[in-house]
């Protein structure tokens, strides 16, 4: 056998040429299934990450050039499983194949078309391992702002406030009693009739003695009388002050019906018409909106810069140990994305187009912050402009967002759905602008909105005089502005809502309240005076002691002065 044939046989003994065919068949089969594998992987991994169903109508992978196309991506809102948080009609991405080989998904260009948010689902997208309880944190305290909705019954009000009145009465009575008791003790310390008689006896006795004895006795007697007169003089000064106190307490007692009336009026909301009406009226509608926005911001700020982590071992998966990269590139990077879609705001569609750049899961590894710019327009010519920068490259995230929506027509939009007060904007043109800065946890937001060409409709399930006042005021309203400021931290935000509505409603309510309050005031004052007259009478009598004191002091002073004169 020739040597080459022997070599060929030896090669044949070790090489199985059809093995190449089998291998190629396996590779081809895998390649034919790659679209299905990608689709299933995205759905499975996405569902695990979101905590609700992620669905895809189809996926397509091409090798040269490397690209990925996804059709009808639907991501369920984990907190509302009958709604998709986002839906994308078509995603096509051109992928850097070299980076993909290095286990990094770097998308040079991406097109996201048919973007829609909060679209309804035909079936629930909930996964069994997640509860859908939403956050119910209270961010507005709106209690006690709206004035009283109806005029209360006078007798029931007085009955309710009787304890407060009696407390006031007791307080005045105790004060008068304390003054009287003090004076009782002081009067007891002054010379009484017996003492004055004793001074007379001493004078008579001194007159009978020799000149020296007489002089000595007069000196001693005069000293005692002068001391008593001095005491009386200082007590008279004290009395003048206490008289003022007693008069003031008696005045307080006499004014009790009037002050109690004012207090009752305030308690029932008829005292004044100054308040944060906007928060009270619009708070219920704004609360969920703000809560949702804050949750989005929390999620956004949660994408903290990548810190070196201790490798964690998982059985069968091992740990991925990282090393320093000469040219660091994030594991996922979208260099540029073109966006187009529809925002549905207040039942109206705004078609938008825009761009996003440098989106990454490891922003610290990329030299540019993520950003986006959007422009949109509605069929009614409302204009939307939004831009933002999400800089998560340093330890402290710095995000900024600037949104404006101009000439947005609002039609049949409910701004308050309270049982007491339902306000519907039948028609309005609105402008809206928001500036937001987020540095770490610290938030600073200034959201302004203006409504013009306004037509409002106000209803109430429990009509009252106040709601009718508000209704009247709002029905003539043509425009109003509103400003919401958010400060503090994401976990503990402080919000203040101000509006010229406060002023407008305040004025309207004030005139109505004044009218109502005047009638009620007279009625209340008369009723209180009548019901509390025995107590007030007692207080007046209690205060009479001060006049008697003055007389008592005067009598003692006169008696002592007469004695001194005689000496």
């Amino acid at each position: 056998m020739p040597q080459w044939r022997a070599r060929g046989n030896a090669l044949k003994q070790w090489i199985r040429w059809w093995g190449f065919g089998v291998f190629l068949f396996i590779v081809l089969f895998w390649w034919l299934c790659i679209d299905f594998i990608v689709k299933t992987t995205i759905e499975t991994v996405g569902t695990q990450a979101v905590g609700a169903k992620v669905e895809l109508a189809g996926a397509s992978v091409t090798l040269l050039p490397t690209s990925l196309t996804l059709k009808q991506l639907r991501i369920t809102n984990p907190d509302a499983p009958m709604q998709n948080i986002v839906e994308v009609g078509n995603i096509s991405a051109s992928i850097d194949s070299l980076e993909l080989f290095g286990r990094r998904l770097v998308i040079n260009e991406m097109d996201l078309s048919g973007l829609q948010f909060n679209t309804p689902r035909k079936s629930s997208g909930a996964t069994s391992d997640r509860s859908t309880a939403g956050s119910d944190e209270s961010i507005f305290d709106l209690g006690g702002v709206i004035p009283g909705m109806s005029l209360p019954d006078v007798d029931s009000l007085i009955e309710k406030e009787k304890q407060a009145f009696l407390k006031e009465y007791e307080d005045i009575s105790n004060n008068l009693q304390a003054v009287e008791t003090g004076w009782q003790q002081r009067i007891d310390g002054l010379p009484d009739d017996a003492q004055i008689e004793e001074y007379n006896q001493r004078w008579k006795k001194a007159k009978k003695g020799n000149i020296l004895q007489k002089a000595s006795a007069i000196k001693s007697l005069k000293k005692d009388i002068d001391k008593d007169l001095g005491d009386i003089k200082s007590l008279k000064k004290q009395l003048a002050e206490d008289t003022k106190t007693v008069k003031s307490e008696l005045n307080r007692a006499n004014n009790l019906p009037a002050t109690q009336t004012q207090r009752i009026l305030s308690d029932v909301g008829l005292g004044s018409a100054e308040g944060d009406f906007t928060s009270a009226i619009l708070g219920d509608q704004l609360k969920p909106l703000l809560q949702r926005s804050l949750n989005y911001l929390k999620q956004m700020s949660g994408a903290a810069p990548q810190q070196p982590e201790e490798p964690v071992y998982a059985r069968g998966k091992g740990t991925w140990v990282t090393f320093k990269e000469d040219n660091p590139v994030p594991e996922l990077l979208i260099k540029s994305a073109r966006l187009d879609g529809v925002f549905s705001i207040a039942k109206q569609d705004i078609h938008f187009t825009g761009q996003a750049q440098d989106l990454s899961n490891q922003p610290a590894l990329w030299h540019k912050p993520a950003g986006f710019q959007l422009k949109g327009q509605s069929a009614d010519d409302a204009r939307l402009v939004a831009q933002g920068v999400l800089d998560h490259r340093e330890t402290v995230n710095k995000d900024s967002l600037d949104v404006s929506l101009e000439s947005f027509p609002l039609v049949d939009y409910a701004i308050s759905e309270k049982a007491d007060l339902q306000i519907m904007i039948n028609k309005a043109s609105s402008d809206f602008s928001a500036k937001l800065n987020l540095e770490g946890e610290v938030i600073l937001a200034d959201i302004k909105s203006g409504f013009s060409n306004l037509e409002l409709q106000v209803n109430s399930d429990n009509p009252s005089s106040s709601t009718s006042v508000i209704s009247d005021a709002l029905s003539t309203l043509n425009a109003f502005d509103m400003t919401l400021k958010v400060t503090g931290t994401l976990n503990n935000p402080a919000m203040s809502l101000s509006s010229d509505l406060d002023n407008i409603l305040g004025k309207a309510l004030k005139s109505k309240l004044n009218e109502q309050a005047a009638a009620l005031k007279d009625e209340l004052t008369a009723a209180i005076s009548q019901q509390m007259s025995p107590e007030l009478e007692k207080l007046t009598q209690q205060g009479d002691f001060i006049g008697q004191l003055d007389r008592q002091l005067g009598n003692k002073q006169d008696a002592l002065k007469q004695l001194t004169k005689a000496m």
Partner: protein
């Protein structure tokens, strides 16, 4: 499965090259012990299909080593992690990490590196011990079994003759 075992017994009892059967065990160890989806397994599979190793033994051994891999997993992880964290090797890992090919090969995964290293270390032992076992089996057990009364009885049975006729 029964067919696979029958083919395996047939291979053991045939004149097939013992090295080819032993090599099948070695390649199976690589695929079975290391994570199945690791990229290097594509190359191993290509080699296993192209080199004339004993395929039934290969597939049977892959199943066996996959079971063993579950027990070896923590050891593989420790070996891999020690290697990846070894000070002396940092330069090498840094170079490999900056190469797309090696990152694709998932060398920086503790289980992939550890199990692959374990497979490399075990492969000579597996090859020579498997080869020795086959040779010894054929020399001693098979010769003894063929001469045993029960084997003569089975070979003489109509059923076996029918099977042999069908095989031929």
């Amino acid at each position: 499965m029964l067919t696979l075992i029958a083919k395996l017994l047939k291979a053991l009892n045939s004149d097939d090259n013992p090295s080819q059967i032993a090599l099948a065990v070695v390649f199976a160890a690589f695929i079975g012990i290391t994570p199945l989806a690791s990229p290097h397994n594509i190359i191993i599979l290509l080699i296993a299909l192209v080199i004339r190793i004993h395929l039934p033994m290969f597939f049977l051994s892959v199943g066996l080593f996959t079971l063993i891999a579950y027990l070896l997993d923590p050891i593989s992880h420790l070996i891999g992690l020690q290697m990846l964290q070894a000070e002396a090797l940092q330069g090498l890992w840094h170079t490999l990490y900056n190469s797309s090919f090696w990152r694709f090969m998932a060398f920086n995964n503790s289980v992939v590196l550890g199990s692959f290293t374990l497979s490399v270390l075990l492969s000579p032992l597996l090859f020579f011990s498997a080869r020795s076992l086959i040779v010894n089996y054929r020399e001693h057990v098979m010769t003894w079994a063929q001469k045993s009364r029960i084997a003569i009885w089975i070979k003489g049975s109509k059923l076996f003759l029918a099977y042999a006729a069908m095989e031929s």
